[in-house]
Symmetry: D2
Subunit: 140 residues, 4 copies
């Protein structure tokens, strides 16, 4: 289920806030979904030369249809993490992003996961991935 | 700044989730904003006989313009809280809700605060509070 | 990957807050992790006759090691949802909870997913699931 | 109630995530509490030469006792904000941080607010602000 990230990979630093942690003293399991979002947003901006905001303006909405996360080692308050993001699969109707979040000081894996996205238009109707988007993802 | 709640007061039970807590083992200070929202939403539904969702459909949007919270005693994981909400001030252009969140078992105060809301129409333009809304709040 | 819930199933109502939604007007994909947590917490309390808080006091910590969620239909602001939770697998060292979150008015599926939990002691060391916990889960 | 920030001011850029927004299409009012936290954390690190994590290790805990926020203009998805933070008051037993969050492109104010913090030791007992901390804040 988990795949290698392939190339290119975008790296985004993230500093853990108090608000990300829970009473176990580590990052709450649900908080990683935001970090996945931050990772793929900056991937689109920095690797593909577009932005999700721009895609939305063009009427291309990419809702999450699936997400998975495996938790390997706890991330602590104030720790610096690195969110590694890559596009791992493109089909006619979906994109998959894979993520590895590692402890910046050691490079050790904290969590690993993916999100799958459909493409819908402004009315919420499913559509094929626009060729324009595929090109941006392919050139990445 | 803090005022008495007056009458009527709506009471809403809330069970603290792990996701509400932080590494200090208590509810994160920012998490109370959601509880204030839950309190005023159920106030509108149960005391005023409308709902914020219904008001939005009528083109009455009530964005928060101010919020204040004083933290008196920490709330713990899995603890049952009671969110007490009341409307404490209505002006031509704003509504103020006050909140007391207490520990259900002792009645002791956890936090106390308020939110102030303006009224805007669908285009985001400030407007006077509609008479229809004032009536619902007054009958409450 | 997705399995049937089996029996018993615990049902928990949940009203969607503004704070759960995002600019697409629907519940943010990451917000469901909190709802999964609420579901399994009340499962333990209401079906197993214990509580996660109680388990922690006994030194039994159940961190999430995996989570998966499939998004089927968007949940809207102020909508009433029903969180259905069941234990679907118990091994020597892990528990799996499955969740179905449905729209209360239609019973239609909003999201479906699972979490897998390991058992660790207070020092964070992996351990076998205690027999006492297995009994509570089996009697459920 | 709102005061000028004085000097020094620490500036922290922040990019708005989808997860920060709500169905009104703007940042959820409660989401700013995290941004205040990020602001004061980086103030302590970059202006005072310590970190909140380090203070906690020394047994100096600074829980929030009050927070206030005034909302002036909505922040949008994917917008770049600047979190400006300053220490505005130090008493024998408390510290106050003030925050201005501005739209990076125009410098226009989005929200303005403050947090007040007490000092407690590891057992949760209120204490006077340690002289060591006062020095770090004064040299800032």
């Amino acid at each position: 289920m988990i795949v290698e990230l392939g190339k290119p990979v975008h790296s985004l630093p993230y500093r853990v806030l108090y608000g990300d942690t829970d009473k176990a003293g580590v990052v709450y399991y649900g908080a990683y979904m935001r970090l996945f979002e931050a990772g793929r947003t900056e991937y689109l901006r920095n690797i593909c030369g577009t932005s999700y905001s721009e895609l939305e303006k063009q009427g291309i909405i990419l809702p999450v249809t699936e997400t998975y996360c495996r938790y390997k080692s706890s991330a602590l308050y104030d720790e610096l993490l690195e969110i590694q993001t890559a596009v791992t699969k493109i089909t006619r109707v979906s994109i998959r992003f894979d993520y590895r979040i590692v402890h910046s000081d050691t490079g050790k894996l904290a969590v690993q996961g993916f999100t799958v996205h459909a493409a819908v238009d402004r009315s919420g109707k499913l559509m094929k991935l626009p060729e324009s988007l595929k090109k941006l993802l392919a050139h990445s």
